[in-house]
Subunit: 733 residues, 2 copies
């Protein structure tokens, strides 16, 4: 009778089976808890497959955005709060209720301290005096409680808890995240066709995950951005170094997930041999990185830990090709253990004896088809077909009669049988014992392996950015503290990558400068001259959306430390990025289009600061012309007077372009169109000034609307225009 216990409970957030995980993506389990007033939320998330563990406290309104970027597959919540949580926090994810005590702040802090073997959590950067930090620790404690309860395994690969401070990263709300297609396309949620798809040339899963996490949390500290840019620049300038580094990285395994397997007791011989191979690759890497100028590369060189004793042990003991599971056996190298060598000889000697015996008996008896076989009823036997029944020697002992053959044993056979079978069993036991020793040695090295993994992930991500920068001819952006934006010949990184080389039309973006509040004092600054708000008009399909999206993407890229697709760029660090371009997937929820649009506009107007970047496409559609125009007009005024942030505003309300005459910070841009013998050519070139036509009927014609319809529409348009009416534009406040 085999005792069966529940050993592990697997849920979507605690999957660690490689075949169920995307190597290039993190799989997060999150927990969240709101405070008494439901104003603040403690949020923690762990990737059990790698041990990465983070926590944050956020205002309630930012939770959806943060969840969109982390994309946890499972969320643990308190059963007391579950019913009151906004549905959108949990939609599309597995949610798991745990008793409220699992989130108790006091117990959570103690549980974490015990797990990490520390007195308090100050060492990780948490402050027990801070109410918000206690909230994030409560969530982290609940994560740990849930894992302990369900995993019944060593969790020591979860070696630290990293606080995520909102103010330390560029805030990107959920709608912007989707609208810019940073990591998933709107159309089908795939990675291809996204910014990550273009930037990701990493060669290890660790690097791919790291790049994804940089995109989810871009930097806001100009110094840190420049540190990354320094490292990328050094790699760009030394292509041979980069390619050598990447070649070494290609031979490296996912030691974050391997370490997790070792810790949780799921590692097999093959996993350990992968750890060994990774360690074997490191000296070459260290050598390449010696003497690097940039701070990050130098730090990586210094922190990569060769773990020489582990490496030499793994190399000495393990075969080149190891099986997945220890019980498959045969993975300890010959010569590695003398006891094992002896037993193996005995085993193979016995098998060889069997083969010889078969040959000898065939010769002696003249039964050519005789063969040695094995079954569990009576072990090794000799099988003779009925055709040769009469040639069977008398000393054979008959054990079984089959349809076509009979099976016999002999005393010699039985004698060797026992030697073979017991040697086989002892070989298995010994290999298993040696394997256990190796696994325990590796387990003791897990903390050092994990800190090396951090370096390798960073290095791979940096090298990937350098590789893309060279391949696509990106430039290093100058990072400024003032809210400027000066992009010369910028391109859309994703669209450019899908078009034939050289066909994408680059455009400048110059806007922002000194914030209104400090404008008077800094009048001397040259950037003060550039407009704060660009109103972009022009026909459909001419590239307005592409232009405003590319501007947002370039800023985002700069803030993760990437080079950017432009001839030259000077970018003032943004604190928040808002983009509303193209369809929003909120529309499908049955809400009115216009309500969704206004809710998003409200969000921007209420939270943007003078350091933010706002990119808006056609605000005010979906209601009557007058209503929409009035609102768009008043929104532009508000952005100009009250917020003063850099803004790109694409619109079909040509009436809005009058604002440029009325407000000093507003300028018109439009997309060039050439009409040539009635044919309309879009030049995709953004120029100064406003457009006076949208060419909508031309587009309808291209789309295949019956000629009768487009011709009649032209007539109606002419009538409308002849009647001399333009909407009278209101006066700015």
């Amino acid at each position: 009778i085999v005792k069966r216990e529940i050993t592990r409970i697997v849920s979507r957030g605690t999957v660690t089976d490689d075949s169920l995980l995307d190597p290039a993506a993190s799989n997060y389990l999150a927990a969240l808890i709101t405070d008494g007033d439901a104003q603040q939320v403690g949020l923690a998330w762990v990737d059990l497959s790698t041990g990465a563990f983070q926590a944050a406290a956020l205002p309630v309104r930012d939770v959806v955005d943060q969840l969109a970027r982390i994309a946890p597959t499972e969320i643990v919540v308190s059963d007391e709060q579950r019913a009151e949580l906004p549905a959108e926090w949990l939609t599309g994810r597995q949610s798991t209720s745990r008793p409220a005590w699992a989130f108790n702040q006091q117990q959570a802090a103690e549980r974490l301290a015990q797990h990490f073997g520390t007195q308090r959590l100050d060492g990780f950067g948490f402050d027990h005096e801070s109410a918000t930090d206690r909230l994030s620790l409560a969530a982290a404690g609940a994560v740990l409680e849930y894992l302990t309860e369900t995993q019944k395994a060593d969790l020591s690969h979860i070696a630290s808890l990293v606080p995520l401070r909102q103010a330390e990263s560029l805030e990107i709300d959920a709608a912007t995240w989707r609208s810019l297609e940073v990591t998933r396309t709107l159309r089908d949620g795939s990675r291809e066709g996204t910014l990550l798809g273009v930037l990701d040339r990493t060669v290890t899963p660790m690097g791919a995950r790291r790049l994804g996490s940089w995109l989810a949390h871009p930097l806001v500290d100009a110094e840190k951005i420049d540190e990354r840019l320094d490292a990328v620049a050094e790699l760009v300038e030394h292509p041979q170094l980069t390619s050598a580094v990447r070649d070494v990285l290609k031979g490296i395994y996912d030691i974050q997930r391997l370490a997790a397997r070792v810790t949780t007791g799921r590692a097999g011989p093959r996993d350990l041999s992968f750890v060994g191979r990774t360690l074997a690759a490191l000296p070459a890497l260290k050598a390449k990185l010696t003497g690097r100028a940039s701070k990050l590369l130098a730090a990586i060189e210094e922190q990569v830990d060769l773990c020489p004793e582990l490496r030499s042990k793994l190399e000495a003991m393990l075969e080149e090709a190891c099986p997945l599971l220890a019980r498959e056996g045969g993975f300890i190298r010959p010569g590695a253990d003398s006891r094992l060598d002896e037993l193996r000889e005995l085993m193979s000697g016995g098998k060889q004896w069997m083969a010889n015996y078969q040959t000898a008996e065939i010769e002696r008896t003249g039964i050519p088809s005789m063969k040695v076989g094995f079954n569990k009823v009576f072990g090794y036997y000799l099988e003779v077909t009925h055709a040769h029944r009469d040639k069977v020697p008398a000393e054979y002992i008959r054990k079984q009669t089959l349809k076509n053959a009979e099976r016999f044993i002999t005393p010699e056979l039985k004698e060797y049988e026992e030697k073979v079978l017991s040697a086989e069993e002892r070989v298995q036991d010994l290999e298993m014992q040696l394997f256990t020793e190796l696994r325990e040695l590796t387990l003791r090295h897990v903390p050092r392996l994990l800190s090396t993994a951090e370096c390798l992930a960073d290095l791979d991500a940096l090298a990937s950015l350098a590789e893309v920068a060279r391949a696509r001819d990106y430039v290093r952006p100058e990072i400024a503290d003032a809210p400027v934006l000066e992009i010369e010949a910028g391109r859309h990184p994703v669209v450019e990558a899908t078009e034939a080389a050289g066909t994408f039309v680059p455009n400048d973006t110059v806007c922002g400068g000194v914030a209104p509040s400090t404008r008077a004092a800094d009048e001397s600054q040259p950037t003060a001259a550039s407009p704060q708000i660009l109103l972009i008009t022009g026909p459909n399909m001419a590239g307005k959306s592409t232009y405003i999206r590319q501007t947002a993407l370039i800023v985002l890229m700069a803030q993760i430390g990437s080079f950017v697709p432009a001839r030259k760029a000077r970018i003032g660090v943004a604190d928040r990025l808002f983009a509303r371009v193209g369809a929003s997937d909120e529309l499908a929820r049955g809400q009115s289009t216009f309500m969704v649009e206004m809710t998003e506009a409200a969000r921007i107007l209420n939270t943007a600061s003078e350091r933010s970047l706002v990119v808006l496409d056609e605000i005010g559609r979906g209601t009557s012309t007058y209503d929409g125009l009035s609102l768009a007009w008043s929104i532009v005024e508000y952005l100009h007077h009250q917020i003063g942030c850099r803004t790109l505003f694409a619109t079909h309300y040509h009436e809005l372009t009058e604002l440029a005459d009325q407000l000093p910070g507003v300028a018109n841009r439009n997309v060039m169109v050439r009409e040539h013998f009635g044919k309309i050519v879009f030049l995709h070139q953004i120029v100064e000034g406003s457009a006076d036509r949208s060419y909508g009927i031309h587009v309808a014609q291209l789309a295949g609307v019956p000629r009768a319809v487009s011709e009649r529409a032209e007539e109606i348009l002419a009538e409308l225009e002849q009647s001399g009416h333009r909407l009278d534009t209101p006066h700015a406040e």
Copy 2:
């Protein structure tokens, strides 16, 4: 040495493993081939898990629509054509290239005829003289070739090929299909929140799949629709019958997938026992259906085949609870086979002897912890811990020494060992043989089982429609041949289901009547008075989109033979249904919003007939006001003059409402709003006449736009309105 061959190649379209399939959905493998001019396409699709196999020939422009409704997971294409096929045909699906000869028309027809054991395929309704039929057969032949090549299994459960004729079903293009959320929501592709989600109260997977296929291919033949409605009506009128039928169906298994498992040799004992239980349930069903008035129910009663000899054999042989796999054994009932009974007694006798022997030896030697064990090295043994080493009798033969114990054998033990082990082996062999006989008997019944499955699927789907109709208070629509639409107090089936009972505000829809071409002759018909085009204006969030969607859904429901959510309905059969409401997922492909909208408008204007139903929401957004208005105006004129189809057109261009004065077939409707002390209340009531305000600023305020913004917008609006300008409306042609 075990010989390993590739036995099956599994791809997404040929998965048959239950754990990978949604029981309620079909999993189609499709093949497609275009003709020489790429004008027509042959398309065939099979569900390998059930054997359902269909083929059609379509014009190229309809392929995307058809694929959207079939939703195949894999498409087989000719390697010669692959590069030229439109990308949208293959996006999001696995596509597999096969050599061009697999699609050869001559060979394909021969391959199909051979598979079905027929001379030609005329019997299935295909005409070898027809070029389009030859094209659909080429695709079907390629499906069969691919299955033969990859499955290496009997495919005889694919028992017929059913032609799908376009003219025989309501055409629904891909955009309409998505926009109406018939089977998947736009938001997350789930089934919940769709029309199917509301209508599906089936109790078998066969019924669920059938209902899905009815929705994908609604009827256009009024007589066939009425046949289904007759059956549904009979079930609605006899709730006890319906509930009895559904109770029986609940005990029925998915015999389509079971038959497929039997045919392809993957069925185990449990599968066969499920076939038996299903057959056992049928007599009760037949009894319930006896003497039914409606043609369909009577036909089902007649065609359900009880297969009595198969049923009694399965019942006699199989245990109540059977294992999944035959090699697990123990599934043949005691008493079913006397040889088996004898062997089993021998086996259990031996085991009993072992237990007695252990007890006896414990007593005799005084070693309380002694136990009998088994390993493959030396079979059954007695294990004694070292603590009792000194009490071991001399006649015990030591075979192995472990860390804590020693293992011994005795001659008595060995003698019984052989009896037990060889009886065990023979029991296994015999059970396997009996199982094979049962499986072959079932295999011979597969054609009869499949035709019964068809009846059960229909019955379950009809009963589901009846159940929903009663539960939700739907009425039987009157089906008319003339293109009328008279819905009294219609409701949105999905929105209604999510709201509290009685809160949904019902609305009438009356439009259409006599087609323009016959208008003169039929002037006496009362329906001629109703307008052809309804222009719907009114504020945001008041329910315009819900209203026009519900009208389209009610027509769709009527044409599958379902009752509809209304007080009364008279519905003229539509030949095509076009709906453009809410966001289109095409937007995300980086195309200009407006271009997508115009492409879809062009599609409608070019293909709608006077029998179609067109439902449009806010055509003309996304370009300048004048362009958009001109196009919307001219589109309405075209629908009125040239097409004459029933149309619901929701718009924010209040200027368009002037069309009602100018064109006899156009009427205005708007959504009632009450202003009460400055508070605005939406009544969701559609009334005659046009709206003059959109309340956009009110919505913006509700959405949380800063008060400064909405107040300023009001000022601007007042200025615009005071300046006295309305756009001058053009004159109708």
